[in-house]
Amino acid sequence: MAVPVIKIENLVKRYKDLIAVDHFNIQINEGDIFGLLGPNGSGKTTTIHCILSLLSFDKGTIEVFGETMRPDSYELKRQIGIVMQNVAVFDALTVYENIDYFCGLYVRDKKLRRKYVEETIDFVELGQFRKFYPKKLSGGLLRRLNIACGIAHKPKLIILDEPTVAVDPQSRNKILEGIAELNRQGATVIYTSHYMEEVEQLCTRIAIMDHGKNIAAGTADELKQMIKKSEKISIELSAVSEADIGNIRALPHVYDAVFAKRQLNIACSGGRHNLIHILNYLQQHDIPFGRVYSELPTLNDVFLEMTGRGLRDV
């Protein structure tokens, strides 16, 4: 049976007239990599701040490891690692000192702390930069240092709030691999992002947020099954008649077909061999075609269908 690490029920947070989190409910289980996906301003960071008891909230309950989280829940805090959206390190301390300082807020034993710090430096691959000051690090390395400061004390629950913003692809991959590795080592991870590819690649369960509401939750596959569109087929054509487009629309599982800029875009709902059916039709009616693309639905499609706008349009 799944053990809940975080349980949020009916959470409401208002900023004067603005409802930042609107009756939000989730349960995050031990061993999850839980993704909170939503556009900027959807309430992800506010929810995280409420979980951490940094922000007061108007309604609802939050339980962490089965206990109500309060500002003075020091034993609970000891089990949590947080990587903030903004880099939070001391410019006047070196890479090693920064990690040691933040680890020292959680771990009193000096020997154990030294061991943890060394392991973390190896983990984030900052060994050759240990004596560097943060200002000398590139954006990607700085993000890795930010992560190291949050995870050095080996927490059971790690919360990463958009840790890959403004990071180059190589560093981003390293960060994502590192998070997966932390999860393999036993940590439960909450990962917030507006990059759907990251969330889809990394997370075992996902909640999609918009305007402070949890509009859908489940695994990536479960979320995709919630929408009508399950496949998008694009075919390069020089020309096609309205009658043919109508006939294609009438094919099984096809619910939309649009021709624009010499490309026929067909949206299909769940069903096998959709592509074969369409290509057969084109061949039978002597309609010459060029390249053919078939895309499975993304989380952006899920968001688009549920909210009427794309994640990136917000």
Partner: protein, 387 residues
């Protein structure tokens, strides 16, 4: 946890070049500039040279009163006011032309003074000043002589009381009321140190900002950690005071031993005053740092302007300012930490350790306690309405 915070805060503060500049380098630079600016004033006022004069007696004439006055000024003062050469008028005139003397006292029926023309070719500012001193002395003497002569003419009995009255008059042996440095310009150095003490407020402001989740990302990270805010603030406050005090001790030692500024007391009492100033400065910065959700730049601006304003009122830019404030709004002087710090130095210099000095220290520590308590009240809130 306390020591962990304490040690890392010291490391951090000692590497903050901008903050160190204001408490370490700025007083050294400004102190050096003050030294050279006020040094020339001291040279012209303190380096008094004995003025050479010639005395000519016409036909062996004598004027006992004048001769005794001249003798007193030559023998009872250090350095002597006048270097007297008794000679005949012809030789004296030659000496005057050759600038060997600044004036000639001719003693006949009356005493007269002959000086070189101010338009003479070889006249320079030093000669002119010495000549002015000579003329002023002679005018004073003539005025006194005339007054006494008239008094005796009106009341001959007064002549018998004169010697007794004159015994109480001394031309050249002022009685010292203090062993301190009476040079007025030293007050600028008091205010300079007071300003450096108030600049320690930057360190206090960063303590506040680094411990509040709604003011910095670092503050948020600290608030999420299991380290209690009270422990963190106490450790950082202690290390802040220690580092700022050590840094400020350097310019004080520089002023005393390198520039030779005389504060009138030894280093321990100077350090005690600077320590009290640092405690007040850091606490003031902590208080300002705790105020609301204001940008870091704005808070630094508030600290710089308020520190400079306090120092302006205590006389850093205009020496008499403190007296002006005392006349029109004395309460401002009571609550102005810069005034309390500079007055502590002044008291130590002139009167030594006394009640007024301890009163100043008490006022400084009281202000620090008020700032600290008010700051703690503001940040003890544990959850925020917005971040």
């Amino acid at each position: 946890m306390f020591w962990h915070e304490f040690v890392y805060e010291i490391r951090r503060l000692l590497r903050q070049k901008e903050e160190l500049f204001w408490v370490l380098m700025f007083p050294v630079i400004l102190g050096t500039l003050f030294y050279f600016a006020f040094g020339s004033i001291n040279n012209t006022t303190e380096n008094f040279h004995t003025i050479p004069v010639a005395v000519c007696r016409e036909n062996g004439a004598d004027n006992r009163a004048f001769t005794e006055t001249l003798t007193a000024l030559c023998e009872e003062t250090c350095p002597p006011y006048f270097d007297v050469s008794e000679t005949d008028f012809h030789t004296a005139k030659k000496m005057l032309q050759e600038n060997k003397v600044r004036g000639i006292f001719r003693i006949g029926e009356e005493v007269t003074l002959l000086c070189a023309s101010v338009e003479a070719e070889n006249m320079n500012s030093t000669l002119a000043i010495e000549q002015s001193i000579l003329e002023m002395f002679f005018q004073d003497y003539r005025a006194s002589e005339t007054a006494v002569t008239e008094l005796i003419a009106e009341n001959p009995a007064f002549a018998q009381k004169m010697p007794g009255l004159l015994e109480t008059v001394s031309y050249g042996s002022p009685k010292k009321l203090t062993d301190g440095n009476l040079d007025n310009t030293v007050q600028y150095f008091y205010n300079l140190i007071a300003m450096a003490c108030l600049f320690t407020s930057f360190a206090g402001a960063y303590i506040a900002m680094n411990n509040q989740a709604n003011l910095s990302a670092l503050g948020a990270r600290k608030c999420i950690s299991p380290c209690r805010k009270s422990v963190s603030v106490a450790a950082q406050f202690g290390s802040g005071i220690l580092t700022q005090f050590v840094c400020l001790a350097v310019p004080v030692v520089y002023l005393v031993y390198v520039l030779g500024i005389k504060f009138g007391v030894g280093l321990p009492l100077l350090f005690l005053t600077v320590f009290a100033g640092c405690v007040t400065g850091v606490a003031f910065g902590f208080f300002v740092g705790c105020i609301g959700k204001v940008a870091e730049g704005t808070k630094v601006g508030i600290l710089v302007s308020s520190s400079l304003f306090c120092c302006f009122l205590s006389g850093l830019m205009f020496g008499n300012m403190r007296n002006v404030v005392e006349k029109f709004c004395p309460f401002l002087n009571v609550i102005n930490p810069a005034v309390r710090i500079s007055d502590s130095f002044l008291t130590l210099n002139i009167y030594g350790v006394n009640g007024r000095y301890f009163g100043n220290l008490f006022a400084l520590f009281l202000m620090a306690a008020v700032f600290l308590a008010a700051g703690c009240m503001m940040i003890r809130r544990k959850t925020y309405a917005s971040i």
